[in-house]
Structure formats: structure tokens, C-alpha cells
């Protein structure tokens, strides 16, 4: 067996640079800045190569050299099959918009809970086991709840999941089935999150998005690595990313930067574009007003997985967009639904409301010329439509109901065809 790669040096404050040993903490004691994993990139550079990655498992763990976790030969302790989701060439949607090269990075089929959250959670739960926790927890808008409960079941850990009480039933059922303790909080996600910060201070649990956040967030980088590898080891000119807390966008940008610095993909700039709902778009508002001061909002949107009015990584997402030459777009509820339907009828992919936001925002970015039609674009599809069918309930018409006889069908077909002609 090969020697473990000594790559994660500990944690480092993103603001003041102060260092901390590797531990379940997330905030700099001195300036309150977020802590990040501090890597020894020279050590990584000596070991990593495209061939080594390509020979790895067909999961996010093929990038283990770039993650803060020492993988045993037997694989990760949890979430072994997470990641390496399809990057789909979207020719029909490209035709509809008149773009040359359009791709969908499709985490709506992520194993095991159909959203990109499986990446961050398997990373965080692996760390929770390493740190010796017996309980994992999270504050969630739904997808994270599903994933934490599922991975806790696999890891045989207890789990506490805190969600806003008004969540879509698909996401609640998709959490309850794993038998975690679900705490429905009468409030917005931002209120749930604030409560969890206080609970996390009192109970010594592994809150994946709080005290394990530095590790958790690194799992998102694998979404970016996969885009680059699946494009044939290059970064696209444009990526459109749905933003709630803003972390995914910053981690995709970081993934491309790392691959470039390690010589695994050619140098080049990827414009990072942010997609948010009009009813909860504080990051896009920062981008459009060109200010790094975040004004929290009270969310009002059907895209509940993006309904975070006080995004913790808003400032960094704003900076990543600005530094990359990207932009941002808001999508109204109507545009979100049309985005979901457009993706389904052109590409045969059913995404949740967040995906509707991203598709709608991409269309606007193309129409406004922010994304030129002759440059490669990747749209991030991060969640599955079967979790949020409620929004489409009264908007899709059923065509016909008949008795089980051939003549009944003949009449119905003639009727349907005459309607189509008309």
C-alpha cells in the first residue's frame, strides 16, 4: 500500500490567515472569518496526475488526493458511490437558444439522494467518523436533510435534522424514511440556521454545515473537477451555478484554479455566473449593484432549496463572480417553472425548482449577451424534480382517460390529433 499523502496541513482563516490544527471548528477565534482546509500543494503536485485520477473509482473519491481525507485501500467509510454524475451535451436546448456548445452537469441523479449534497455530506460524515462523533446534524432546506439522514444511516450514526416547517412534502418524506430525528422549526431557513449555530455551541454534535463546514464545503470541489475531466481536461468558458449560501459557486471556481495550478488543465478563465430566484437573490443583487455589502432578504420564492436570505458565503460568491468576469441573473417563479419544463421537454431531464432557476438565468445571460453564443457553457443541475412535484401540480394537463378498448383509443386518438391540428 502506498504511503498516505501528507496534504492537509490543518485549517486556516480565509481572512486573517491564522492557522489551526485539523479539528471540528469553522470560525476564526480572532476575526470570525471562515476557516478553510490548508493544503500542501507541493506534496499533492508530486503525486497527482490525470492518469492517477482516471484510474481511480468512478465516484467523487477519484479526487481524494485533493480532499482533506486519507482514503483507506478499502475506500471511504461512507458514500463510496457518490459523484461522477453525467455531464450531458445538451444539443436540443442549445438549438433552442442558438448556442454552439452547451452541457448539463447532472447531479439530479447523484447517488444516493439525488442532489449534489451527497458530495458534501459524504465528505463531512467521513470526517465526523474520523473525529469520533456519534451524532451528526444539519440545518437544511431539504436536500441536505435527505443526504445527512441517508449517510448517517449508512454510517450507523445518530442524526438530527433541522428544517423549516413549511418544506415540500417530498423532501420531508425523503428525510423521514431514514429515521433520523427531524426537528421542524417554525421559521425561515435563516432562522433554523441561526438556531442551529446556538444548538451547535451547546451540544457536541457534528453539524455538517457548521462545525464541519471547512471539510463539508471541500466536497463541492468534486463537482468542478468532474466538469473539467468530463470535458476532456479543460474548464469551460462559462458556468452557471445556482446560489443559496453561495458556497458551491466558490468551490467550483476553486476546483478549476487548483487543476490549473497543478498543471492538470490548461490555463484560462472561466466566467462564473450566479443564478438566484427573484424572491431571494441577495448575491445576484450584490453583483448587479456592484457592492460587496450583503443585504439580507426575507425569502419569497418557490425555489425553497435556494431560499437563504442571509448567505454565509455571499461575499465570496460575489468576489468569485466579479474576479472571473461573470454576472448574475434572477428568475421569477413563472420563469423557474418554465425553466423546469423547458429542460424536461428539450433534454428529458426533470430537475427541481433550483434547476429551473439555473436554466432560466442561463437563458437571460445568453439573451443579454453576457454569455456569447459561440462559447462553451455548463449549466449546474443540482437537484431532482421528483422531490418538488408540487409546484407543477396544476400546471400540467393530462391528455385523456379512456375505457380499456381499442375503439375507445381510436376515438381518443382522432380527437387528440384534431386538437393538435387546430
Amino acid at each position: 500500500m502506498e504511503r498516505p499523502l501528507d496534504r492537509a496541513l490543518g485549517l486556516k482563516c480565509r481572512e486573517c490567515g491564522r492557522g489551526y490544527p485539523s479539528s471540528p471548528i469553522h470560525v476564526c477565534e480572532f476575526c470570525f472569518g471562515p476557516l478553510e482546509v490548508d493544503y500542501d500543494y507541493e506534496a499533492i503536485r508530486r503525486r497527482i496526475s490525470r492518469a492517477r485520477i482516471e484510474a481511480g473509482p468512478t465516484s467523487m473519491w477519484r479526487y481524494a488526493d485533493l480532499l482533506p481525507f486519507d482514503l483507506a485501500e478499502s475506500g471511504p467509510p461512507v458514500g463510496a458511490a457518490v459523484g461522477f454524475t453525467p455531464l450531458v451535451r445538451a444539443r436540443n436546448l442549445a438549438d433552442a437558444w442558438g448556442v454552439q456548445e452547451l452541457y448539463l452537469k447532472n447531479d439530479s441523479v447523484s447517488h444516493p439522494t439525488w442532489s449534489f449534497k451527497d458530495r458534501v455530506v459524504s465528505m463531512a460524515v467521513a470526517k465526523a467518523l474520523e473525529f469520533g462523533f456519534d451524532t451528526v446534524a444539519c440545518a437544511s432546506t431539504g436536500n441536505l436533510a435527505n443526504s445527512v439522514a441517508a449517510h448517517a444511516a449508512e454510517a450507523r450514526l445518530r442524526s438530527y435534522v433541522f428544517i423549516p416547517a413549511d418544506l415540500e412534502s417530498g423532501k420531508v418524506i425523503g428525510t423521514l424514511v431514514y429515521e433520523p430525528t427531524v426537528v421542524e422549526v417554525e421559521g425561515t431557513y435563516d432562522e433554523v440556521n441561526r438556531l442551529c449555530a446556538e444548538i451547535g455551541d451547546k451540544y457536541h454534535w457534528a453539524f455538517v454545515n457548521i462545525n464541519l463546514r471547512p471539510y463539508y464545503a471541500e466536497g463541492s470541489k468534486t463537482y468542478g473537477y468532474e466538469i473539467a475531466e468530463q470535458l476532456g481536461w479543460r474548464a469551460p468558458a462559462h458556468v452557471v451555478v445556482p446560489c443559496a449560501g453561495g458556497s458551491l459557486l466558490t468551490k467550483i471556481a476553486k476546483a478549476f484554479r487548483e487543476l490549473q495550478d497543478l498543471g492538470l488543465i490548461p490555463e484560462g478563465r472561466t466566467a462564473m455566473h450566479a443564478a438566484q430566484a427573484a424572491g431571494c437573490g441577495p448575491i445576484v443583487t450584490m453583483i448587479r449593484n456592484d457592492t460587496d455589502v450583503l443585504r439580507p432578504v426575507r425569502p419569497q420564492t418557490i425555489a425553497k432549496s435556494l431560499a437563504i436570505g442571509n448567505p454565509a458565503d455571499g461575499y465570496y460568491a460575489y468576489r468569485a463572480v466579479k474576479e472571473s468576469g461573470g454576472h448574475g441573473e434572477h428568475a421569477t417563479d413563472e420563469e423557474i417553472i418554465e425553466g423546469m419544463r423547458l429542460l424536461a421537454r428539450t433534454e428529458g431531464i426533470f430537475t427541481e425548482t433550483a434547476g429551473g432557476v439555473t436554466v432560466a438565468a442561463t437563458r437571460k445571460l445568453i439573451e443579454s449577451g453576457r454569455i456569447p453564443r459561440d462559447e462553451p457553457v455548463v449549466i449546474c443541475i443540482t437537484g431532482n424534480g421528483l422531490k418538488t412535484p408540487d409546484v407543477l401540480q396544476d400546471r400540467l394537463s393530462r391528455d385523456v382517460t379512456i375505457r380499456p378498448s381499442l375503439s375507445a383509443f381510436d376515438r381518443a386518438l382522432a380527437d387528440l390529433e384534431s386538437k393538435t391540428v387546430a
Partner: protein, 92 residues
């Protein structure tokens, strides 16, 4: 006005380990000054050199983010509960 202030873990080294402290203050700005006099060093941890609250700190009065109220000039009432909470990740 006497208020209850919840102290997050990273600041408890300054409050001798206390998770909750009492303070008498008229508004948020005043509260920071009062906390500084009770627990020297606390102001620097909450406020930038220019006097603005640090970017990654959120302050809540009775569960409401002060940015939805009047920010640092929000007045305090007897019995208010003030929480100091670091920014937290979540969502996409």
C-alpha cells in the same frame, strides 16, 4: 436596560467561559462598549478598525437580525435577548 447576551464559543475565552452574560445598554452600539468595559478585548473581536461590525458576525435581538432593524443603532429594551452568531454555511 438590562439585557441577556449569548456569547458564541470563540468569544468565551474573554468572558471567562460564560455562555451568557448580563449587560446594561441602550442600543447595540452602546452594548458593544459596555461589553468591552466588562470584558476587555471583546470590542476588537466584534468590530473592524473603522468601527463597522465585522463582516462575518451576525447580531440578533430576540431572534431578529439587526440588519432588518436599525443595525447598530437599534434600541434595546429591558429583558431583550441578544445573540452574537458567526455566519454559517448552508444551501447550495
Amino acid at each position: 436596560m438590562a439585557v441577556l447576551v449569548r456569547i458564541p464559543t470563540p468569544l468565551r475565552s474573554l468572558t471567562r467561559g460564560a455562555a451568557e452574560v448580563q449587560a446594561d445598554a441602550s442600543n447595540v452600539q452602546d452594548l458593544i462598549d459596555v461589553l468591552e468595559s466588562q470584558y476587555p478585548g471583546l470590542r476588537d473581536r466584534l468590530v473592524e478598525n473603522g468601527g463597522e461590525l465585522r463582516r462575518f458576525i451576525n447580531i440578533y435581538i430576540n431572534q431578529e437580525d439587526i440588519r432588518f432593524l436599525q443595525g447598530a443603532s437599534t434600541t434595546l429594551k429591558q429583558g431583550d435577548e441578544v445573540s452574537i452568531v458567526p455566519a454559517i454555511a448552508g444551501g447550495v
